[in-house]
């Protein structure tokens, strides 16, 4: 078990955003979290990554309590690709990647990793000297993912990675996630594109206003009528089929 969360409670001031949540990720697994706007998905990931303080509950990483400071969490091998991109707008693309690989000791490792990111997103290579704030939305998203990849995590937290990406690219990055996963990296992914997320993951949790209301193998959830109705856009398809 790489990550085990028990009875986690998180508050935003008076708002109880995460309510007694239990969740786990097994070594080498891809786990998805789906849920409507405001369900608490981002809050959950941010709490794991150390951006947000938990109120109580336990987060165990490889059986040990997880540190609470974000930089220590990263050192343990957990990287977060945050919601809303949050690239360093005053740095160039390349410098953003340097920041991603900040803890890497050897230049060779670093360069190898940068090459891999450029391979995944050729656009970033093309724009390596562009100031990140002037990138287009999707380009920034590529950079955010690339930057998170640079730290070569053991557990990868992804908060809506497909946001603002062109369909073709969404395919590509999801394939990339599978590839990364096959290299032994566990992934916890939050996605609005629930279908994609469920097809990618082996297990999933459904979050509703801070509670886990359903969990189980993704396949089951994909076929669960209730889930289809609420998160998979069944109504949409119905309408389109009309």
């Amino acid at each position: 078990m790489i990550l085990k969360i028990t009875d986690l409670n998180v508050f935003h001031g008076p708002i109880h955003a995460i309510k007694k949540v239990n969740l786990h990720v097994k070594e080498g697994e891809i786990v998805a979290i789906i849920g409507a706007n405001g369900a608490g998905k981002t809050t959950l990931l941010n709490t794991i990554a150390g951006l947000k303080k938990k109120t109580d509950g336990e987060i165990l990483y490889q059986g040990e309590p997880l540190p609470e400071k974000s930089h220590e969490v990263l050192k343990k091998g957990i990287a977060l690709c945050p919601e809303g991109r949050r690239v360093f707008g005053n740095l160039t693309v390349y410098e953003n990647l340097i920041m991603g690989g900040y803890l890497m000791k050897y230049k060779k490792d670093f360069e190898k990793e940068v090459e891999a990111v450029y391979h995944l997103f050729p656009r970033l290579h093309e724009r390596r000297n562009q100031i990140a704030s002037t990138l287009s939305g999707g380009e920034q998203q590529m950079l955010a993912i690339g930057r998170a990849l640079m730290s070569k995590p053991r557990l990868f937290l992804l908060d809506e990675p497909s946001l603002g990406l062109a369909p073709l690219l969404v395919q590509e990055i999801f394939n990339k996630f599978i590839e990364i996963n096959q290299m032994g990296v566990s992934i916890l992914i939050v996605e609005q594109n629930a279908k994609h997320a469920l097809m990618l993951s082996s297990r999933a949790y459904v979050l509703q206003t801070g509670n886990v209301i359903k969990e189980g193998p993704s396949k089951n959830l994909l076929n669960d009528p209730q889930i289809q109705e609420a998160y998979l856009g069944k109504r949409l398809k119905d309408r389109q089929n009309q």
Binding site: A36, V170, Q192, R235
Partner: protein, 261 residues
Amino acid sequence: MPILEINNVTKEFGGLTAVSNLNLNVSEGELIGIIGPNGAGKSTVFNLITGIYKPTKGTIKFKGQDIGGMEPFKISKLGIARTFQNLRLFKNLSVLQNVKIANQTFAGYDILSAIFRNQKYKAQEKEIKENALKLLEIVGLSEFINEKAGKLPYGFQRKLEIARALAMKPSILLLDEPAAGMNPDESLELMEFIGKIRKDFDLTIILIEHHMEVVMGICERILVLNFGKTIVEGTPEEIQNSPEVISSYLGEVVQDDTENN
């Protein structure tokens, strides 16, 4: 006469041509989609129309008037409202205030009326408030009117931006990825919503989206950009079957996916 005419517009950033020789005529009441790979220049087109960027070349006309490079606030007053790809709400103000600010452009009361709170002030303030409440109800944010905008979940913030844009009483509404961060179900709601406001407010709408369900579902005409140029223009069917679009933007799998339905 088209309500918006974009003629041969080019925008360069240093050595980079973000938009190149773009032509687009939009007729009153149309709902146009703009799609294209990331960095194709879609948002830049919006920024050119709304005056945030000055075109390097070419003209932009709104209802016959040249607006290329006009100050943004003047353009928005003429009747072009927009939402932003990276949300730009007044984060520390309440949801209601966010909408009121956009609606009050039409309140002409002067500062003395404000100071003395005369009849004119009261009537117009009342109107602003009523309008704002109505709009918030339409987008379904009624229960959050006193919440700080920045504290809303992402999806609600997007809706608030739309409400704010509508409060401008625009004749053209520019939506930059309104469905980003929404799940398919919410996207569906959004589609219905866009259709409804279009009718209710007599709007011309230009929409940038990467959610194909939405684009294909509601747009009548779609423009596909790549490298700042129009590569294809046509109906949703034409676009979906264009090999060029599939290879550069849609990808095979999604294509299959839509066909399955």
